[in-house]
Symmetry: C2
Subunit: 166 residues, 2 copies
């Protein structure tokens, strides 16, 4: 038995409309977890038609949902009963205006408040949240960083952009 | 005139059903970019009902959509004409089985292939993608990491978990 497992998605996004993107995301490992079409858009202030959430709405929902999913998935294994679970908080970034590109960006801080209704001890509830943090793919990606490789295809040209290691 | 601007979201996620989470995400800065209700779920293999995409489907769409949005948003400012834009690729993680918690996780590598249809020069197209990378909130979060603060509320107890700096 292997002590690791792969989790992998493939995707294709197409720009349509003014700022709308239609992204098909396919779960390819460890099991086929489904194919979903997820559209993003921007509000009129940013040149879009507000036909869908922005990428950062989805990012924020992914962070929240990932931790919440792992809290419930790990609860049984850790012997903690979860009768109710609500998570609220904030995600925050800073944009720096520059020229000629409009701006560059950096994250500031993300804050999660986890409300758990449980007859288990507070120690056990905290241990569950700590385990879920380590098991949350999104949080571990933020904590550890990851290399994002970019290849640009333009006409017959294909260029691999320089990578900054995570 | 300030040379920075804030980008901020607040959210509340509620666990419902078996593994479904219903997350309300509110854009609060720099302008009210809208409120969206985004649900996540898991497939039956992971104890869910597959009523919605998983958090990692959304995460993958957010990464893709963020870069695509900035490519189009920055194109005019950089004088690059974008007649067509398709991005495809993969996101990849590894899970490590452990006990008693089921597993811990780490990102492996994300790969984006950016197809741009443009009468502009390849140099200008590449410069646009480089600028969009630096302007993409999601990519910069992955490159720089970010501290995620956790507070657990259980009954009358409120505990701030130890932070690992980004």
């Amino acid at each position: 038995m292997s002590d690791t497992f792969d989790v992998q998605f493939t995707f294709r996004g197409e720009a349509v409309g003014k700022m709308r993107n239609e992204v098909r995301v396919v779960s390819t490992a460890p099991t086929s977890g489904g194919t979903y079409d997820i559209a993003t858009d921007e509000g009129p202030v940013h040149g879009g038609d507000a036909t869908a959430p922005t990428p950062l709405h989805y990012f924020t929902a992914a962070l929240t949902g990932c931790l919440m999913t792992q809290i419930r998935a790990f609860a049984r294994r850790l012997g903690v009963q979860v009768d109710g679970l609500v998570v609220d908080g904030t995600t925050q970034w800073l944009g720096h205006l520059t020229a000629p590109a409009p701006y560059w960006t950096e994250p500031v801080r993300f804050e999660l408040v986890v409300h758990i209704d449980s007859p288990s001890s507070t120690d056990d509830v905290v241990a569950l949240v700590e385990a879920a943090k380590k098991g949350c793919f999104v949080e571990q990606t933020l904590a550890k960083g990851v290399t994002v490789g970019h290849t640009v295809r333009h006409g017959d040209a294909e260029l691999k952009l320089e990578e900054s290691a995570a």
